[in-house]
């Protein structure tokens, strides 16, 4: 009895409040329903696609950033490799230069040695030629002197030998030839 009276009292109080503020329950319920419908429609056809688009963009941005990071790392790696390759190439070039300098020095030394040997050979050949020429001249002079002596002797003997001398020589020659 008490509770029913309390409930009636509460209902009357509530009714008083709604009356005081001009609230209509059916209107409120209708508004709640329409708001819910609008909210569901907006969620379904506006907010959700926008969120999906935003998520996609976010994903693209993140993947782009990740790609950029990868590229940055790859660039750094490539730069290191390039530097290493350059350094190696520089070392090889330096080694080649040193080798070429050594070869050039060896070649120059050999050419110098060859030139010295050739000069020595030329000098020896020239000395030999001079010696040969000298011997040839001496031989020619000796031959010429001998020829002159013989020719002179022949002329003198042709004039000076008498028939008696020739006869004696012929006798001696006969004895010599017959004793062969």
């Amino acid at each position: 009895m008490l509770s029913s009276s309390l409930i009636v009292a509460a209902a009357s109080g509530l009714t008083k409040i709604t009356d005081d503020f001009g609230i209509s329950v059916p209107l409120i319920l209708a508004q709640i329903l329409s708001f819910s419908i609008v909210a569901i429609v907006l969620w379904k056809f506006a907010f959700k696609p926008v969120m999906t688009t935003l998520d996609e963009r976010q994903g693209k941005i993140e993947s782009g950033l990740q790609y950029a990071e990868q590229m940055k790392a790859q660039l750094a790696t490539t730069q290191q490799q390039t530097e290493a390759a350059l350094k190696e190439a520089q070392q090889k070039a330096q080694a080649i230069i040193v080798e070429a300098q050594k070869a050039a020095k060896t070649l120059a030394d050999k050419q110098q040695q060859d030139a010295v040997e050739q000069a020595a050979a030329l000098i020896a050949k020239a000395q030999s030629a001079i010696e040969l020429e000298k011997k040839k001249m001496l031989a020619e002079a000796r031959g010429e002197i001998a020829r002159l002596v013989v020719a002179t002797t022949q002329r003198v003997l042709a004039k000076e030998l008498s028939e008696a001398d020739r006869g004696r020589f012929n006798d001696a020659a006969t004895r010599e030839l017959t004793s062969v």
């Binding site: 013989v150 028939e163 012929n170 020659a173 017959t178």
Partner: protein, 131 residues
């Protein structure tokens, strides 16, 4: 042609052997050989006769000594030289004199291709060659 010449040479040598009697060339045999060549038809007669003449001349030269001399030379000297050469070669060798003033003095004896010399010119030439 070469084969014909070779055969002709061989034939000439055969004729030459027939012309030599006791190591000397027989005039009768030579005359007989020439008559044979003249009467009979011999292949390549010109080549045969040339070779035969060369062989006979060479053989005759072996039996003859040419004595070149400067100054007078006596017949006795020639005989002595001919006797010495006959003894040396084992066949009769005749000798003939041929004056050669270039020898100055002395003799040069040539028998075929052999030359024996004892002359002033030869001694001077030897001296010149030695110097």
């Amino acid at each position: 042609m070469a084969a014909h010449a070779k055969k002709a040479q061989q034939f000439a040598r055969q004729l030459f052997k027939m012309s030599v009697v006791n190591g000397t060339v027989s005039p009768e045999r030579v005359s007989g050989v020439l008559q044979y060549v003249e009467k009979h038809k011999v292949a390549n007669p010109l080549i045969v006769l040339k070779a035969y003449a060369r062989l006979i001349a060479t053989e005759l030269a072996k039996s003859h000594a040419t004595v070149e001399h400067a100054g007078e030379i006596s017949a006795a000297t020639l005989s002595t030289i001919a006797a010495a050469m006959s003894k040396k070669y084992g066949r009769p060798v005749t000798a003939s004199a041929k004056p050669n003033p270039a020898l100055l003095a002395g003799l040069r004896v040539q028998v075929s291709d052999d030359v024996y010399e004892s002359s002033v010119a030869g001694q001077l030439a030897a001296l010149s060659a030695a110097v």
